[in-house]
Amino acid sequence: MMNNVYWLVAILVLASAFGLFRRWNEGRTKVDNHRVIVSAQQIGSPLGDRATLLQFSSAFCAPCRTTKVVLAKTASIIDGVNHVEIDAESHLELVRELEITRTPTTLVLDKDGRVRNRAVGVPRQDELILVLAATV
């Protein structure tokens, strides 16, 4: 019985550490060094004249909806920025190439479609706007 108590505490401590780490990291816009180029054809939608916010979503993903709102709003306030949401499940090749591990993931593409930044989780709009200002 005493052993079970220790195990239970260990599980809760580990889960809390994981949860806190995830919360801290959630939606941070990070520089992406893969430098992959994405074409309009691959995402089935034209790239923005200055930048594109490429959102990967999936079924069973509640924060994907919030992300959609944040990105659509961001794209609407900055000229030449497109928001493109694609279903990860139906673009598995792209998902592998771009190393998307979970949804929502947002990639900031420059005008040539080159991946510049990546945010996993609901993006923080202020960070996104700063990144876009540097990209466009």
Binding site: L8, A15, G19, A59, F60, R65
Partner: protein
């Protein structure tokens, strides 16, 4: 199957109850109480996964006893993500029961441990299992 939007607090409340139930199952491993609670939790997961979150027993408790006493819902969500989470929980719970059936206490303990961690993350951090696991499954399926 119902597609009506859920008060987001419902599944979260359910995750807290699930965490408590699974913690008791974990602590009481090897006793009749643990087995009975595990069966109850498995049934709850199965209803949540197959019928939907609107019929999940803890969701019904929330609707009947908690909701009338708190402020009106301001945030709603689609029932599909919590339904996926219930299916993941069901997978762990069934594995735990299989462990009991084949007499492996380790299999049961590990499966209950994972289900407990997932429910705890869901309840305490609003962790989205579907966001993490669905794409992973699709990538390797």
């Amino acid at each position: 199957m119902s597609n009506q939007q859920l008060d987001v607090r419902g599944p979260r409340f359910g995750a807290v109850i699930t965490t408590i139930v699974l913690a008791i199952v974990f602590l009481a491993q090897g006793t009749a109480i643990a087995t009975a609670l595990l069966l109850l939790q498995t049934t709850a997961f199965a209803i949540g996964a197959f019928v939907g979150p609107h019929a999940q027993p803890y969701g019904l408790l929330f609707k009947k006893f908690v909701k009338p006493r708190i402020s009106p819902a301001t945030k709603f969500e689609d029932p599909q993500p919590p339904r996926f989470a219930q299916a993941v929980g069901l997978g762990f719970a069934v594995t735990a029961l299989l462990g009991l059936a084949i007499g492996s206490a380790t299999v049961t303990a590990v499966a209950v441990g994972f289900a407990l961690a997932a429910a705890f993350l869901n309840g305490a951090f609003n962790f989205c299992l579907g966001c993490e696991m669905y794409l992973l499954i699709k990538k390797f399926a």
